[in-house]
């Protein structure tokens, strides 16, 4: 067996952020290597570096012993590196057959031979009946297959598969898994990124775990799944539990009872059998959940399970395809997003989404754009500044100049400026240093103590469950588990949902 791919000290910086950090990586011929890691670990960036879609900041890449660090993407394709795109990139107005013909021509300049090769691939991928349909008319499953098929037309030595299973229903997923095996049997070496843990644990010969851009573990699926570092990377840390002020409630007692400021008369958020999709890509299949006044509810689940989509659907950034979203007596699914805010439902989006070229204070003022909240602006501003004294100090600074933790505080503060009754927080601890994460969780508890209902989406499962009254577990767009936070903390089901074992 010979080495197909090797990276040396591979590093990619985005501004100040280290997305891929000195990754050393080698793949032998004929292997299936699973590349896993929590959100933002740098998996897709790593693919982009290997395929040439992005330039490396430093380090070197070798393919079959030959350095390709600075070769353009099309040369790497010629050499035999095929890839799929996580955000699928078919050639939408070409037919499925033509999509494959584009790649087939690379190895078979003669038209007859190219058509034959494309036909062979289309047959193997089970796409033959769609051959004359335009790529844009395919379903998600079809498009994902097309991604794989197009990469296969290059007869690649190395195939990079980016999330080709996530988003498929179980039958489709099974079919794709079978295909990947067959592709390997035909002699290709495969590196795959996949959020559906069951799949990647079952398929891979070897697993490499990235977290915050670094290679933190490597081994067989079993070794990796029991590796404490990996579990920590996925489920969050225990550390700091004792360092932070003791929570004002003890696990087991109904959590709301210690919160005097709680407003029991507030409306309840209720989702009933909600389905939602991005274009043709259906993400939510069956989501029912309830957040009652004064509660802190956590929504947890693996990457790509539909957590963010659930929040976006409530906030009406996404159309509800089927089902109902109700807040008190109001049907949110029939409103526009700014009206939802007006009812008192605020969302702090993932990745902060600040207005970067505005000052801190301007960001906060924008949070109180509604007529309803404009009169309370001074009071709310004072409340936010009391909660986050640092923001008061920096109020004339541009948002983009804040540190990650400060930006998160600003995003939360901006959400509070609309005087919400329900605050939805999407991954507030994402990408923050451990001490800041503690701070964020403290703030979340403070907020709910002020009587604001909280719906929390978090990747730091352990911490989230510890502070949550109740939690829901979402898997592939369906709510699969519900229960009191501390109880779920012990649940093997949760671990299975995350690590696939």
């Amino acid at each position: 067996m010979s080495e197909v791919l090797r990276t040396e000290q591979l590093r990619k910086l985005f501004g100040g952020l280290v997305a891929v950090n000195d990754v050393e990586f080698a793949v032998e011929e004929g292997e299936i290597v699973g590349l896993i890691g929590p959100n933002g670990a740098g998996k897709t960036t790593f693919f982009n570096l290997v395929s040439g879609a992005m330039r490396v900041s430093s380090g070197r890449i070798f393919f079959q012993g030959r350095e390709i660090t600075h070769a353009p993407a099309y040369q790497r394709a010629e050499l035999g590196i095929g890839r799929t795109f996580q955000i699928m990139k078919p050639f939408p107005r070409l037919t499925v057959m033509e999509n494959l013909l584009v790649g087939a021509y690379l190895r078979h300049p003669n038209r007859h031979a190219a058509v034959r090769w494309a036909a062979e691939v289309i047959e193997m991928m089970g796409l033959a009946e769609f051959a004359s349909a335009s790529a844009r008319s395919l379903t998600t499953a079809g498009r994902k297959r097309l991604e794989v098929a197009r990469a296969l037309t290059l007869s690649p030595t190395l195939l990079l598969l980016d999330e080709v299973v996530a988003g498929l229903n179980p039958v489709e997923a099974e079919g794709t898994v079978e295909l990947i095996r067959r592709i390997r049997d035909r002699g290709a070496t495969i590196i795959m990124v996949e959020h559906v843990m069951r799949v990647i644990m079952g398929l891979s010969d070897r697993i490499v775990v990235l977290a915050n851009g670094s290679n933190i573990a490597e081994g067989t699926p079993q070794q990796v799944a029991t590796n404490p570092d990996v579990i920590t990377a996925y489920l969050g840390t225990h550390e700091g539990r004792d360092a932070r002020p003791q929570a004002t409630w003890s696990p087991g007692t109904p959590a709301g009872e210690n919160h005097s400021a709680r407003d029991d008369t507030g409306p309840t958020l209720a989702l009933r059998r909600v389905q939602a999709a991005y274009g043709d890509v259906q993400v939510l299949w069956d989501v029912s959940l309830e957040v009652r006044p004064g509660e802190l509810v956590a929504l947890i689940g693996a990457n790509g399970a539909g957590k963010t989509t659930t929040l976006r659907t409530v906030a009406r950034l996404l159309r509800v395809r089927d089902g109902e979203v109700q807040f008190g007596t109001n049907r949110l699914d029939q409103m526009s997003s700014h009206d939802v805010v007006n009812l008192g439902v605020a969302m702090v989006p993932e990745g902060r989404q600040l207005f970067n070229q505005m000052t801190v204070e301007e960001n906060l003022l924008t949070g109180s754009s509604l007529a309803r909240t404009r009169t309370l602006r001074r009071t709310n501003l004072d409340r936010v500044y009391t909660l986050f004294p640092l923001l008061r100090e920096r109020r004339r600074q541009e948002a983009s100049t804040l540190s990650g933790g400060e930006q998160q505080m600003l995003a939360i503060g901006r959400g509070l400026m609309s005087a919400p009754r329900l605050l939805m927080l999407d991954e507030p601890s994402l990408g923050l240093a451990p001490t800041i994460v503690e701070e964020v969780f403290r703030v979340v508890q403070d907020i709910r103590r002020e009587g604001i209902t909280v719906l929390l989406v978090e990747q730091n499962v352990q911490q989230a469950l510890r502070i949550a009254d109740r939690a829901y577990v979402i898997e592939s767009g369906r709510i699969v588990l519900e229960g009191p936070g501390p109880e779920l903390l012990q649940s093997a089901e949760v671990r299975r949902a995350y690590l696939g074992i």
Partner: protein, 288 residues
């Protein structure tokens, strides 16, 4: 030296108006991601609206400016609601074609209505001047420039200090996040297009004292608007002020010292160079 200063002053006077055109285009691009190929025609609409009120109502052209701005704003909102909102999610070339079409229709409506003859406005003070030392100022241009400064300052206050201004900037920087703050971004888009049209119409009124009005001159000013915004950075409103002044002065100096027939080449060359070398514009960082 006196001559040089005179030329720069003239450049600044014209450049101020260019800035107004550019600010409108930049606002539209920033919030709507539309490159408005009808922008120069909006300016011509402003010219003819002014002429119309001046000839029919016999009111001083500077006094009808509020009316012109109002007409421009209304037209802008109507155009946005009826023609641009329906294609908001279409691919980029759709909005380019749409604005090209809007420009052709508007300029031909002007042609039907006002005829093919170049028109000029004649007021008592059209030819009057005043002096500051050796430098000569045209009275009409001075009034224009004064209004330009007032309008730009007003805009700066609006964008910087008011809820509306923050809503516009928020919508430009991150439309989803703006919706999450309760901002009706659909309304903001209509409003911004209305403002863009109104500003272009205003610029038309302000340029009237120094130009012949003709329905066909729109594309020339669309091009100038592009130059101004690219120099300042697409979507960068403050940059558009710098871009406008720079273009005004460049044109004025180029015409005086190199060749007046190549006057427009300097702006275009700068435009091309900035596009290729500093796509984020001369004044400011790239925005994502």
């Amino acid at each position: 030296m006196v001559e040089f200063i005179q030329i720069v002053v003239n450049g600044i006077f014209t450049g101020g108006v260019y800035a107004i055109i550019g600010i409108g285009l930049s606002l539209i691009f920033g919030v709507m991601r539309i490159v408005n190929f009808a922008h120069g025609v909006f300016l011509v609409v402003g010219m003819f609206t002014t002429l119309f009120f001046f000839e029919r109502l016999h009111v001083d052209p500077f006094l009808v400016i509020p009316l012109v701005v109002l007409v421009g704003g209304l037209l802008g909102v109507i155009v946005e609601r009826s023609l641009l909102e329906p294609i908001a999610r279409a691919p980029e070339h759709a909005s380019i074609l749409m604005t090209v079409g809007i420009g052709l229709v508007l300029s031909n409506v002007l042609l039907f209505t006002f005829g093919d003859a170049p028109q000029i406005i004649n007021t008592r003070y059209s030819t009057s001047t005043w002096h500051l030392g050796p430098i000569t100022f045209s009275t009409a241009l001075t009034i224009s420039f004064f209004l330009t400064v007032v309008v730009i300052s007003g805009l700066a206050l609006l964008l910087g200090r008011t809820d509306l201004g923050r809503a516009i900037r928020a919508a430009a920087q991150n439309a989803d996040a703006a919706e999450l703050q309760g901002i009706n971004t659909r309304r903001v888009r209509s409003l911004v297009f209305g403002m863009g049209f109104a500003l272009a119409a205003l610029a038309g009124a302000l340029l009237l004292p120094q130009l012949f009005a003709h329905p066909s001159i729109g594309p020339t000013y669309t091009l100038k608007a592009f130059i101004v915004t690219v120099l300042g950075g697409m979507g960068n409103v403050a940059g558009a002020i710098g871009g406008g002044l720079l273009l005004g002065i460049t044109e004025s100096l180029g015409a005086a010292y190199v060749s007046s027939s190549y006057r427009d080449v300097f702006g275009l060359a700068a435009f091309l160079l900035v596009l290729l070398l500093r796509p984020a514009g001369l004044f400011g960082r790239s925005r994502t």
